[in-house]
Structure formats: structure tokens, C-alpha cells
């Protein structure tokens, strides 16, 4: 399987991620789950899909170290190769890794203004101009999270980002949900997202429910995608 096949056969095509990447179109996405179900694995696969489509991805890991984040990519790539027998695998890896940069922050030292500054600096120096931003570990329970989210959406416009994807931790004992079914702590800000995915353990498997999606989605909500618990790879149901 070649690089192009990896893109066209990716189950994420069901979300129509590629359809909205024309001039000026943007998407803000969210992956939600309880602790330990695989939010980072999903974000990494969304990032990888974007990298395979020649987009530059900045992966921001809050409260996680660089080596661990890097290992996620290495592991997911190795699993993809194992399952799909990628032609010239090392060459493909070398090529797409040029499209990725990782920034890690301690929980207490992250703020969106600082991130914006860093990204602008990288772009101005011609080092890295991100097309897609992945933020893993954003604190949606913080008091100023709605304002920070708003700030990021403005930054998305000014810096011409195509996508921003977040992960958020939900809790079993908090049953608050929005009208779209988006659980706490994101229930009050669900308007900010175009796509919301929820990892839901069901029948000895893990479903990837699409709680909210733009018109580009062709996925039959809640049925079409699953997360293989053994490999953490997204698959068609």
C-alpha cells in the first residue's frame, strides 16, 4: 500500500476531513472520552492523516513529555505498517515526519497567547507554518477555558489554520450533557466545535460515536467507526 492508498483507505475519510480544506474553510474538532480510552491515539491518527495529505501539523501536548508523544506516532505508524504493509515504509515515515512538530508544556505553564507567539515566531522564521493544530490535554474545566477557546478561534483565522483538534476528559459521575449529547466539561462550549467524537466502550469493543459533525461527514452517527482496543487504530465497523 502506498502513501496515497493510506489516505484514500483511511476510515477517517468518513468524517470528510479533506473536503473542507479548501481556501478559507476551517474545522474545530474535539475527541472526548473517559481516562485511558484512547483520546491521544485518535488525535495522533487525525494528525497523521493530515500529515499524509501534506499538511503541517503542530502537536501540542500539555502535561506530557516529548518522548512519550513521539512514541505515540512511532507506535501508530508501526501498527499501520503491520496491518497495511506500507511500500517504502521508512521513506514514507521520513517524508511525513517533516510535517510534524511537537511542543510540550507543563499544565501550569500553558497559555494560548504564549502558544500563538511561538507559532508566529516559527512561521516568521520560515521554520514551520502549521496548517493543523492538535492540542492534547487542554483544560476545559479551567475558569477561562471558554475565553481561551475563543482566542484560539481568532488565532485560527489570522494564522490561516485549517483545523484545530482538542481532546477532553469526561467523567463517569458527571452526567451533564449538551443538546447535542456532548458531555461535561465541554457541554457548555459545544457550539465552538464543528465535529465532536466520543469514545464509548460498548459490547467488548470501543465505538467512536460522532456526536456532532459538519455536512461533509458521511458517517452514520455512532455506527460506522470503531477503535480497535488491541491496536488503538480507528477502523470501519
Amino acid at each position: 500500500m502506498g502513501k496515497e492508498d493510506l489516505v484514500s483507505n483511511n476510515p477517517l475519510r468518513a468524517l470528510g476531513l479533506e473536503k473542507e480544506e479548501g481556501a478559507g474553510s476551517r474545522r474545530v474538532g474535539l475527541v472526548m472520552a473517559r481516562a485511558g480510552l484512547g483520546k491521544t491515539a485518535i488525535l495522533v491518527q487525525i494528525a497523521m492523516d493530515s500529515m499524509l495529505r501534506d499538511n503541517k501539523v503542530l502537536h501540542v501536548a500539555i502535561g506530557e513529555d516529548l518522548e512519550k508523544t513521539r512514541t505515540w506516532y512511532t507506535d501508530i505508524l508501526a501498527l499501520m505498517d503491520q496491518e497495511k504493509k506500507v511500500e517504502n515504509f521508512q521513506e514514507v515515515v521520513g517524508e511525513i515526519m517533516k510535517n510534524r512538530m511537537i511542543m510540550t508544556f507543563k499544565e501550569n505553564s500553558f497559555d494560548t497567547a504564549k502558544l500563538g507567539e511561538r507559532m508566529e515566531d516559527l512561521a516568521q522564521q520560515g521554520i514551520f507554518k502549521a496548517d493543523c493544530l492538535v492540542i492534547d490535554g487542554f483544560d476545559f474545566t479551567a475558569k477561562d477555558s471558554a475565553a481561551a477557546l475563543g482566542g484560539l478561534k481568532i488565532f485560527m483565522e489570522t494564522s490561516d489554520l485549517k483545523m484545530i483538534w482538542f481532546s477532553a476528559l469526561s467523567h463517569r459521575d458527571d452526567d451533564r450533557v449538551s443538546a447535542n449529547g456532548v458531555p461535561a466539561p465541554c457541554h457548555e462550549v459545544d457550539e465552538a466545535f464543528d465535529t465532536v467524537l466520543l469514545i464509548s466502550p460498548e459490547d467488548n469493543g470501543m465505538k467512536l460515536k460522532t456526536l456532532k459533525c459538519s455536512d461533509a461527514c458521511s458517517v452514520d452517527a455512532g455506527k460506522a467507526l470503531i477503535l480497535d482496543p488491541a491496536t488503538m487504530l480507528i477502523k470501519k465497523a
Binding site: 505553564s109 516559527l122 514551520f128
Partner: protein
């Protein structure tokens, strides 16, 4: 020397450069009565610290070769290996870790966990070395041992907990509070040699109790008895806590943290106690040997003095006393005058003198037993050789030795220098497996290669100082490799008829990329199209071709050569004819197999104040570097990148000027990667020009 191995500790002192480990070793030797005066590392008093025995080390204030020393603390024999702090000398650290049972990781209370500490910690993980940490320089402005302990947890992933609290910090550092015994400890006398125990100062009592609770919570996991006592809220016996800490440390699940200031003579003695309490004795760790009579099957060595002797030579030195071989004894007993067998060469040698080393001084001993680290005289061997008494044929597991990545030409200035240089190079290559040397037959130049600029610089300095060999040095050269990208067929006939007996041989087959090995030869000849006696000639011909690729003259790696057909002549075919046919076949196939040039890529970590992050990233980007990512912590940022070695020459100067000297970097070999087309064309052009000269 005590026979009871429970009172033996073989420890390494490992850390970031300038974190004060040589000073700490100096204090340890002072408090254990091995030396009777304290000297500065940088030799203001003209003497220098005891462990930095090489002149160059004393001058630069860094430890290059790990000197071994021995001391006795409260009836415990402690063998200490002082290890280098610069990454270019990593093989020294790795060799030391191989023979050690435990280690003390030294950190600076201001600088904290820096990139070199991360490298050293990774090495300790590789060899499963239990470790305790000592946060040194608590007398310095900005000292913050709690922050450093946090970094040990976050950056190194250690379950690190403070065993002590400082009484005062920076200029006000007076002593430490022991959280196990809940006593304040002060260090009186001119050199802090008198220990005074007092009650904990009232203003620190609450904090001490809080920290003790944290410590007990963490270590109770390793002792059911302690957990029970805590649950029943009984008084806790300090020995119970110590046992739990020891269990956790030996299992590599816990890392106790001690604090102090070696320079100000504060809290070095409690660290020595900790070495005894918490670091393993030789019988606490399992060392594995390879049984050479049984297909290199692994077996645990016994540590028993009555069993057959097994020793590993881990370090060679050529000093004023002749050749000195440092060995670690894993089992058995060696007596002065005994004969031992070098397992690699099969040679039997007599051990005429057996000494215990104390840096560059020594004490003659009559015997050594399992777990000991001693030095032998007059034993010719290479670093990493195993010795036995002949009753057992085994080898200690081999050490991981990285391939050299940089080389340069050295030209002796005169005939005397030529002779001395040969002596020096012969010695260095035996001492250090990452240092290699050879003569380039085309240019007749002597080439030395190693792990980095500083690595080679130090050997050149040593040639001058120790061997009086004045040499001129060429520009550093990167060790490129060539490889192929696709399968290609070959069918080559070597035919020569110039009177007398001719030469004839035809070799046919294919070559293809081979990821697992540098070179593989497969014979698929059926029906005798190449007679059996000439198959090895084909192999030889291919091997010869691998030594020098056609693109830039670098060695070729990652090629599998398969022969499946050929032809011979009853009279004209010979070993030479088939070797030449294979050389021709290789050349033919190589040209079609899309050959590429590979260059060494280094993993570079630059650490400095966040305000310079942009400039640092820019400087890496300019050097064809691929930035992997950044880690921002407080006001410091670490930028990690993969950069071609050829672009890293002189980077320390650039970085210094970019960051006002506030940033530093480490690098280590990561992998070989194909060079970009423009660089490849340049290298090919340069090689062709040199060839046509």
C-alpha cells in the same frame, strides 16, 4: 578487604558536567581518610582534585577517563568509579555502568536536571543500575532542591523523593534534616568533619513532618510491615523505613534524594551512609555471563569466591607504572602469581602484581575476590576482554559500543613524532573501543575516528602531552556510508588472455537492500555452474567491493549479494579470476541499484532560557536540522532535533554567541539517513575531483 560481600559497594558517580562530582569524590575520600587534605577541581592550589589524574583533566576541570578508587566507610568497602560528564566520552560512562552495582546521580541544585543528566539516566536504565541522587551545590544562589526533585520525577521519570530537607539554603545553608530519623544534622569543624545531631528547628518542624508523610506514603509500597505499622498508627522504627527504601531502590522502583554542598562540606557523610543503606552489594544484583561451551547460553554468575574465576577487563591505562588493566571480579578468587586465561585470545597470562587503585596511586594486595574492582599489571588485553582461570569458558555479556561518526587525518611533524604517535594510537585504541585508527592507503594519511569533535581533540592533546607526539591535524570528516535503494541484476564475465594461463570467471545474480545486516552473501548456485572452491572467492570479491563505494568512496552497507549462476573454465578459472569477476559484478549491479550516500544524523538537545528559543530553532533549521519538538518548563526550554553531523561543526561557538552563553547542547548518534540530492551531488563531485588529481 572484607570477605563478606554484603559490605562491598561498587558504585559510579555519574552526572552532568560541572555539577561537582569530582569535588564530591574528593570530599568522600577525605571523610573516609583516604586523603588528608582537600584540593580544588580547577587546581588553584596547583594540586587539583585527586580523581582527575590526567594532566588534561586537571586543566579543563572535567573528568575524561574514569579513574577508579577505593575507600572504606564504617566497615564497608566502597569502590568508586568517577565517570566523565561530557557526552563525547559516553563509552567511558557505559563501561563504568557495566561493572557497577549502583550509582549516585549528582545534580546541581540550581541547574537541575539538564540534558546530560537525561543521557546518563538513560544509560543507567539500560544497565538496570539502582541509583540514588545527590542534589549538590545547595549553597549556590538560586538553589532549589525541591524543584530539582520534581524534575527527577518529571524529566527522568524516577519515583524520586527527598530523604532530607535543607536547613537554610544558598549562603544560609547550615545542615540537613533527616526525614527518616527526624533529626537535624549539622557539620562542624574546619572541613565539616564533626557531625552534630540536634532537634529539628521549630520553624521547620511542620514542613519536615509533611515531607516525612510524603516519603512514608511513597516507600510503604515496598514493605508490608511498614504499611501495617502506619495503618495501626504505631511508632515507626527508622530501620523499617530504611529497609523499605532499600527494597524500592534495588527494584528500581524508588530513587531516594539527598541534598548538600560538597564544596561547603555539608551533608557528604549522610550520602556515604546512604550508599551503604540503599545501594546494592554485589550479591544483590544479577550479572549474566555467556557460556561459550553451550552456544552462548546466558547464566547468572555466582559471586562465590570458591567458584571458578570470572573477571572482566573494563579499562586499560598506560601510565607511569606501565600497562594497568582494571578488572571487575564476578566470581572466584585471584591471587598474586596466579595464571589467568584471556577468553578472547586463549592466551594464558601470569598476574605478577595485583593492586588496588586510588586514582593514580596504588596499593599492592595479595588477592581479590568476587565483587572486587582491582587493577592488574603486565596483562596484555583489550578493553572488554573476559578472564577466567581456565575451569570455565565464558564471556561476560558484550557491551554496546557505538560506531564512530567523525574522523580526521593526523600527520606527525617529524620522525620522532611518527614513532611516538604509533605508540599512542596503539594504546588509545586498546583503551577506548570507540576510538579507531587506520591508514588511508590512497593518501597514506593516518586517520583517527571517534564519537565527536571533543573526543578526538582530547586524544590529540594526549598524544602531545603523554607521548610527545607533535601532529598536524586535518579538518574533521564525517563518516559517510553508501547503500543501495533497489534490487538490481548482475551478470559479469571476467576474461583475460594475455599469454600464459588466462583468467576466466562469470558471476551472475542480483543484489538487494538488506536492512538487518551490513552485508549478506547468499549462494544459490545449482548444478555447479561455479565450482564450490570458487564460491568463497565470489564472497571475497563482494566484500572487497563493499569497502569502498563508487559514489564518494565511503564503505557500502546494507547489501545482500545473491549469486545464482555463472561459468568457469577448466584451466583459466582461479580464485583471483572469480574474485575479480565478483568485483566486476558488484560494480555492474551497484550502478543499477540506485546507490545513495548516507550521513550520520545526530540527536541534538539544546537547553536554554525560553527567550532564546526562536534563535535556537533558527540555528538548527539553518543546519538542515529537523526539529522534533520543544519542551517548555518555566523559563527554560529544551529544543530537540535531528541534525546531520556535518552541519554541527563549530555549533558550540554559534550557540554561545546566539544565547550569550546561556544555552548548552548535547548530541549523540541517532541513525544514518540519505543525504539530500544537492549534498550528494557535491560529495560525488568532490570525490571525482580527488580521484582525478
Amino acid at each position: 578487604m572484607s570477605v563478606d560481600l554484603s559490605h562491598v559497594r561498587n558504585i559510579g558517580i555519574s552526572a552532568h558536567i560541572d555539577s561537582g562530582k569530582t569535588t564530591l569524590t574528593e570530599r568522600i575520600l577525605f571523610y573516609t581518610d583516604r586523603i588528608h587534605a582537600i584540593h580544588d577541581v580547577r587546581g588553584k592550589d596547583g594540586v587539583g582534585a585527586k580523581m582527575d589524574s590526567m594532566e588534561l583533566e586537571r586543566e579543563r576541570g572535567i573528568t575524561i577517563q574514569s579513574a577508579a578508587t577505593y575507600c572504606n566507610w564504617k566497615g564497608n568497602d566502597i569502590n568508586i568509579i568517577d565517570t566523565p560528564g561530557h557526552v563525547d566520552f559516553t563509552v567511558e560512562v557505559e563501561r563504568a555502568l557495566r561493572v557497577l552495582d549502583g550509582a549516585v546521580l549528582i545534580l546541581c541544585s540550581v541547574g537541575g536536571v539538564q540534558s546530560q543528566s537525561i543521557t546518563v539516566n538513560r544509560q543507567m536504565d539500560r544497565y538496570n543500575v539502582p541509583r540514588i541522587s545527590f542534589i549538590n551545590k545547595c549553597d549556590r544562589t538560586g538553589a532549589n532542591p525541591e524543584r530539582v526533585t520534581g524534575q527527577l520525577q518529571e524529566k527522568l521519570g524516577l519515583n524520586a523523593h527527598m530523604m532530607q530537607l535543607p536547613i537554610g539554603l544558598e549562603n544560609d545553608l547550615e545542615g540537613v534534616i533527616d526525614l527518616v530519623t527526624m533529626k537535624a544534622i549539622y557539620f562542624d569543624g574546619e572541613n565539616g568533619e564533626t557531625i552534630r545531631e540536634e532537634e529539628i528547628p521549630a520553624d521547620l518542624l511542620d514542613k519536615a513532618e509533611e515531607k516525612r508523610e510524603e516519603l512514608l506514603d511513597a516507600v510503604s509500597m515496598f514493605s508490608e510491615e511498614l504499611m501495617e505499622v502506619m495503618l495501626e498508627e504505631q511508632e515507626i522504627d527508622p530501620q523499617l523505613v530504611k529497609d523499605a527504601v532499600r527494597a524500592g531502590t534495588l527494584a528500581l522502583d524508588f530513587s531516594p534524594v539527598f541534598i548538600g554542598s560538597a564544596y561547603k562540606n555539608k551533608a557528604v557523610q549522610p550520602l556515604l551512609d546512604a550508599v551503604e543503606y540503599y545501594l546494592p552489594c554485589p550479591t544483590d544484583v544479577e550479572n549474566i555471563g555467556l557460556d561459550l561451551d553451550n552456544d552462548e547460553e546466558e547464566f547468572p554468575v555466582t559471586n562465590d569466591a570458591a567458584d571458578p574465576l570470572i573477571m572482566l577487563a573494563f579499562k586499560l591505562e598506560d601510565g607511569r607504572y606501565g600497562q594497568l588493566t582494571y578488572v571487575r571480579t564476578y566470581q572466584g578468587t585471584l591471587k598474586k602469581g596466579d595464571s589467568v586465561i584471556n577468553v578472547r585470545t586463549g592466551k594464558k597470562v601470569k598476574v605478577g602484581r595485583l593492586v588496588r587503585m586510588h586514582s593514580d596511586e596504588m596499593k599492592d594486595i595479595d588477592s581479590c575476590g568476587a565483587g572486587d574492582i582491582v587493577a592488574l599489571f603486565g596483562v596484555d588485553c583489550a578493553s572488554g576482554d573476559t578472564f577466567t582461570d581456565g575451569k570455565i569458558t565464558c564471556s561476560m555479556s558484550s557491551m554496546y559500543i557505538p560506531e564512530p561518526v567523525i574522523s580526521l587525518a593526523v600527520l606527525p611533524k617529524d620522525n620522532k613524532a611518527q614513532i611516538n604517535m604509533s605508540k599512542a594510537l596503539n594504546r588509545f585504541t586498546k583503551e577506548d573501543p570507540t576510538f579507531k585508527t587506520f591508514v588511508d592507503h590512497e593518501t597514506s594519511e593516518t586517520i583517527i575516528s571517534g564519537m565527536g569533535e571533543l573526543h578526538l581533540e582530547v586524544y590529540i592533546e594526549r598524544m602531545k602531552r603523554e607521548y610527545d607526539a607533535e601532529v598536524e591535524v586535518g579538518a574533521p570528516q564525517v563518516a559517510y556510508r553508501e547503500t543501495i535503494s533497489q534490487r538490481a541484476e548482475f551478470n559479469y564475465t571476467h576474461k583475460k588472455q594475455t599469454g600464459g594461463s588466462g583468467q576466466f570467471g562469470r558471476v551472475s545474480g542480483y543484489m538487494e537492500p538488506c536492512e538487518d545486516e551490513d552485508y549478506e552473501f547468499i549462494d544459490k548456485i545449482v548444478g555447479g555452474s561455479i565450482p564450490r572452491e570458487f564460491i568463497s572467492s565470489c564472497d571475497k570479491g563482494f566484500t572487497k567491493s563493499m569497502a569502498k563505494g563508487t559514489l564518494c568512496g565511503s564503505p557500502v552497507t546494507g547489501v545482500r549479494c545473491v549469486i545464482n549462476d555463472g561459468a568457469f573454465h577448466a584451466v583459466d578459472s582461479s580464485d583471483v579470476a572469480f574474485q575479480l569477476a565478483a568485483v566486476g559484478a558488484f560494480k555492474e549491479g551497484y550502478a543499477k541499484a540506485k546507490p545513495t550516500i548516507m550521513e550520520p544524523i545526530m540527536k541534538v538537545a539544546v537547553e536554554g532560557p525560553s527567550e532564546f528559543q526562536g534563535s535556537v530553532m533558527g540555528s538548527i533549521n539553518q543546519r538542515r536540522g529537523m526539529i522534533i519538538g520543544t519542551t517548555e518548563e518555566g523559563s527554560y526550554t529544551v529544543v530537540e532535533a535531528e541534525v546531520p553531523l556535518s552541519e554541527m561543526f563549530g555549533y558550540s561557538t554559534t550557540l554561545r554567541s546566539l544565547t550569550q552563553g546561556k544555552a548548552e547542547f548535547t548530541m549523540e548518534f541517532a541513525s544514518f539517513k540519505a543525504v539530500p540530492k544537492s549534498v550528494s551531488e557535491e560529495l560525488v563531485k568532490k570525490y571525482q575531483e580527488e580521484k582525478n588529481k
